[in-house]
Symmetry: C2
Subunit: 402 residues, 2 copies
Amino acid sequence: MLNPERFLADLHHLRSFGASGVGKGVVRPAYSDADVAARTWLAGRMRDAGLRVACDEMGNLFGLADGPSLLLGSHSDSQPEGGWLDGALGVISALEVARAAKESGGPPVSVVSFQDEEGRFGVTTGSAVWSGQLSLADADGLQDHSGMPLAEARGAMRHLVTGPVDSAQFRGFIEMHIEQGPALDTAGEQIGVVTDIVGIRDMNITFTGQQNHAGTTPMHLRQDAFQAVSAFNTTLNYRFRNVVTPQTVWTIGHISLHPNASSIVPGRAVFSMQWRDADQDRLARMEEIIRDTAQATAGDLGMQVSFGRLLGLDPVAMDSTLRGALEQAAGTVAPDRWRRMPSGALHDATNVSRLMPVAMLFVPSIGGISHAFEEDTAEVDLVAGLRVLDAAVRNSAGGTRG
Amino acid sequence: MLNPERFLADLHHLRSFGASGVGKGVVRPAYSDADVAARTWLAGRMRDAGLRVACDEMGNLFGLADGPSLLLGSHSDSQPEGGWLDGALGVISALEVARAAKESGGPPVSVVSFQDEEGRFGVTTGSAVWSGQLSLADADGLQDHSGMPLAEARGAMRHLVTGPVDSAQFRGFIEMHIEQGPALDTAGEQIGVVTDIVGIRDMNITFTGQQNHAGTTPMHLRQDAFQAVSAFNTTLNYRFRNVVTPQTVWTIGHISLHPNASSIVPGRAVFSMQWRDADQDRLARMEEIIRDTAQATAGDLGMQVSFGRLLGLDPVAMDSTLRGALEQAAGTVAPDRWRRMPSGALHDATNVSRLMPVAMLFVPSIGGISHAFEEDTAEVDLVAGLRVLDAAVRNSAGGTRG
């Protein structure tokens, strides 16, 4: 039977591995001593729950139920300055639901803690390899910021590796996660049932004008690259208004002027243009408007524009059956205090969706804060999330895979 | 008698000191071996011209005529990557005019090459000390980018120092300089008679919003510091339109976002705000609008704004008599090919104006280029400038000081 106290106790115990000493924060990067110790402890908890422990070469740790099972979980590695719940919540809630299912003869539930979701080496690296998105050989060549290759780092877990874990045994994947945004907290709601993981597009744009003396160059003879960025930004915001939805986001987060000096008219400006939306067509339409607006701005100002490589990930729709089960459970556990919402951030579920139906569940982030020691969620909301996950698993028994 | 060939020969010889090997460019920073060698050679040319050589503690080098004289000159130190004419033109044209005056019994003309106009240590450092703007003790404490104090660097010229040079012997100062901007070149004109050295105001402005995840933070809940800068810039350009003249300039040349990452909504933006105009009241009015617009922008977006220290220099009007002499000479030497114009850049004349009447004369900069090895001016225009300077000196004999 579901035991919220046991769940919270395990969640707090997990944060003792790599505890930062600041708030409840943790420093538990992929393959670090703290991360390996945490996974060793998790393996023990999985065994205690009657699950078979398996660990692949990347260090993705599984607790397997017998026969076809629903997979629940997330990741237990953390950001360099991480919160106690980011990933950990999904792993420990999975463990508790699996335990309760075992104890009460419920449907088989397996548990996973993926490795390096936080991208010490790549991006959602462990689940990317497990899902076939990235080969182990390519992953081994990735380096962290200090230049250490992943191949060397994962040696720290060699003693835990049992072999490959076949995804065919799982009929679906549900990941519970903190929202990492302000929507639920601002609205005073407890539960977010994810509709889609949004797609993302990212591209650097460069305006090239003419570097000049800021004292002696009259305004009408300038080709100021910063002015181009400002004009582009204003026009883009205006042109997007009939294209976007309230959930669409777009951001200029990075800008670099050259020569970036107070007395010199900037001759060049490079900036990042990122946009996210759950609809592939909208992403493409936005790209068209971005390129068109940048070209038009450059033309108007007599300047040049160039575009860097477009990087991106497509949107991932959540499985309707699993999502339906989560919505039904949310309506029972948290009536009038839940909503449907997109996930604006990338998760392991993005990669796992290549293999099986996936769904996600959010609980609030206080102040929308994540990727910081101050990350937190009220325990009553953590428990509500646990109950929704558990109810959805019991409601979806019978499977979604044909 | 004025000898343009001799003038050009000396100008080309000066550029051999610290010749960069790229175009006609020079690397001749204040107090460097090349700079000291150049000043040693200049001292010899001054003696050859019948002038008494004097050099103060800062390394400002003078060639003095007897009795009250008109002072002409500029500086012979260069930018780290300098052009052959920036400063050098004013020094060598002064030398030629002084020589011709001596030879033909014209009015007494003294010559100066100020030290460290380019600001290896301060800003127009040599003339700042000579004019009393900056004490020698304070100047000695200034450091270059490598941390060397000026006191140590000027030791390289110790053997040339003769003592203080009394400014009371000069009845005025005329500095010929390259325009360092595109106006004359674009208009196909030869001569610019300077009306004012514009005043300058410089201030950092900081917008503080809220750093956030660029995927999970809805647009309506953002406080994006880059958006604040963009909105401020747009509004400022609009509000300035009824306040400025075609000669007014304003520039955002430097911007620094925090954390300056593609996936993070910028929580802070610091940028430089610089504006220049010949009218003190306009400078003050622009400051009022800048502060008001920044406050309004912050208020509209629910963000904070703070202002750094306001730095500035007041406008300097050129002496009407000396300027009149230059205008008359320009009308003779370059009819229909001259204009009145402000100097958008700071010069030694700014400091010298504290002591005596000053005036300035410009020749074109090809492509408006300066502070670069490619800096250049057609020799026919250099000679036209020389002739205007010479004619103005002869026309202004009789003095402007009471």
